[in-house]
Symmetry: C2
């Protein structure tokens, strides 16, 4: 059932993004944008749609904000994969944008995908109330800029030249910024669309985001490149501190499990209506990709 | 008087941007962002402040939108200067971001400057009415994304591999996107802040933007690298079609002059209150940098 909901969300988001790019000029940059937003689990967009559903908001309404976070996530991946950043040739089993096109197209496609994210949130289709739309824009700007995702990316680069591995506190803070901030925004989006208190969803997403990153580190050690569609053992090879190197494999698994329980508990105010979000939390540490 | 107004606008914008970055983490990316937004003529921000003044909006109010367009413009320059794009080592007489830091910092600083632009527009300080703020966000997204600036950049890259020089119509359309769209947004911003008809300012800015680009092409031929602080003769050396190569030097100068008159005339509805904007149009074709 959860897998069906995830697929349904992905299909809706795919359609919204295709629609947003339907009239785009016939240029490599727009082809690269379409390519970059296709595929993937769409976990962030799913969190938007399911958190909105808690407040009775239909997927037809929340899909716009869901498409926005997926466009923003796609921009970060396109730029992150570039040779001057993580230098990855493969993403979801396919050549990355700068491999399939070139570096200039990757820069421009990433730039325009960020713009598209804010465009989707600002568009009247996203929500009839401009106050809600501008709140979504402002909160996404905070989550993705120098107080959020980009700060985490900068901390990640700084860690490589620090001359010592990061501590558990440092890596927790880094990941809370680098991947946690967008996951948090996604889960909070439902409350923002409903103009309700974001606190319960925020607590859920904070635990979920950290569990997600610990699971990523576990996958980097135990994962199968054929399934994940990307290089594995990358961090271990680079001698980087990870949750696995700091907690051990068993310790990391136990911590991820505890965080999933914490995430599930945070959803208590919503009762059974939040079962899809609870399942998403369990999925995050059980996934193979 | 016009030079004083331009300096006053620049100082206000500088303060607003410094304020926005005051609490930013101590990381190379935030240092690079401060570096990238310092200096320059601030013509776009000036257009925001002066177009707002036409509607009695004080610079204390319009400076936020002015800072936003300068942050967005700075992002485009940082990415444009990168080796995989225009590969420029010098900007305003100073080393470009990827030279002073590295390519990864240039990618991230540009990304975060784009985010900052939307953040500044979405912040309540920009305008008390959320409908106005979200209109500014939506219009800037359109002006800077794949229907605006990024489309122009893509058309510029495509022109280099087209195997033939562009026609006058093609280069006019390319420039209307690449540099025209942001100049247009800047001049229209005053009417948007006042929730009035953007048509007169739009006509002014369309003529101004084209005059600006023709003047740029003239400067590329006649300019002094010591004054402009960047490479000259770049386009001629690259064998690219420019307004000068298509119209001749005298023809280009005549066309720029006619466009300035057109820009001035478009401001008729505002009478003498628009004199600063008229002077800005004359400045654009008389500037040496």
């Amino acid at each position: 059932m959860f897998q069906d909901q995830l697929k349904d969300a992905a299909a809706r988001i795919e359609t919204r993004l295709a629609d947003a790019l339907a009239d785009a000029a016939d240029q490599p940059v727009t082809h690269a944008m379409r390519y970059a937003v296709s595929g993937g689990k769409r976990l962030r967009g799913f969190l938007v749609i399911e958190s909105a559903a808690l407040y009775g908001i239909a997927p037809e309404q929340s899909v716009h904000a869901a498409a926005a976070i997926e466009a923003l996530h796609a921009y970060s991946l396109v730029h992150d994969d570039m040779p001057c950043m993580d230098d990855d040739d493969l993403r979801r089993g396919q050549p990355t944008v700068h491999i399939k096109w070139d570096d200039a197209t990757a820069v421009l496609a990433g730039d325009a995908l960020q713009t598209l994210a804010f465009d989707l949130l600002a568009d009247p289709s996203c929500h009839p109330d401009p106050a809600v739309r501008v709140d979504l824009v402002a909160s996404l700007a905070r989550a993705s800029g120098i107080d959020g995702m980009v700060l985490g990316q900068a901390q990640d680069i700084a860690a490589e030249t620090a001359g010592r591995p990061l501590t558990l506190d440092e890596i927790t803070e880094l990941q809370a910024n680098k991947t946690g901030a967008l996951i948090r925004w996604s889960a909070e989006a439902g409350a923002r669309l409903a103009q309700e208190d974001i606190a319960p969803l925020s607590a859920y997403a904070t635990a979920l985001g950290l569990a997600f990153q610990i699971a990523d580190d576990i996958l980097d050690v135990e994962g199968d490149a054929a399934k994940t569609g990307k290089r594995v053992q990358k961090d271990a090879d680079a001698g980087k501190a990870t949750f696995v190197s700091l907690l051990g494999l068993d310790g990391a698994k136990a911590r991820a499990k505890a965080l999933v329980t914490e995430a599930e508990d945070a959803l208590a105010p919503y009762g059974a209506r939040a079962d899809a979000l609870r399942e998403a939390a369990r999925f995050v540490i059980a996934r193979e990709v």
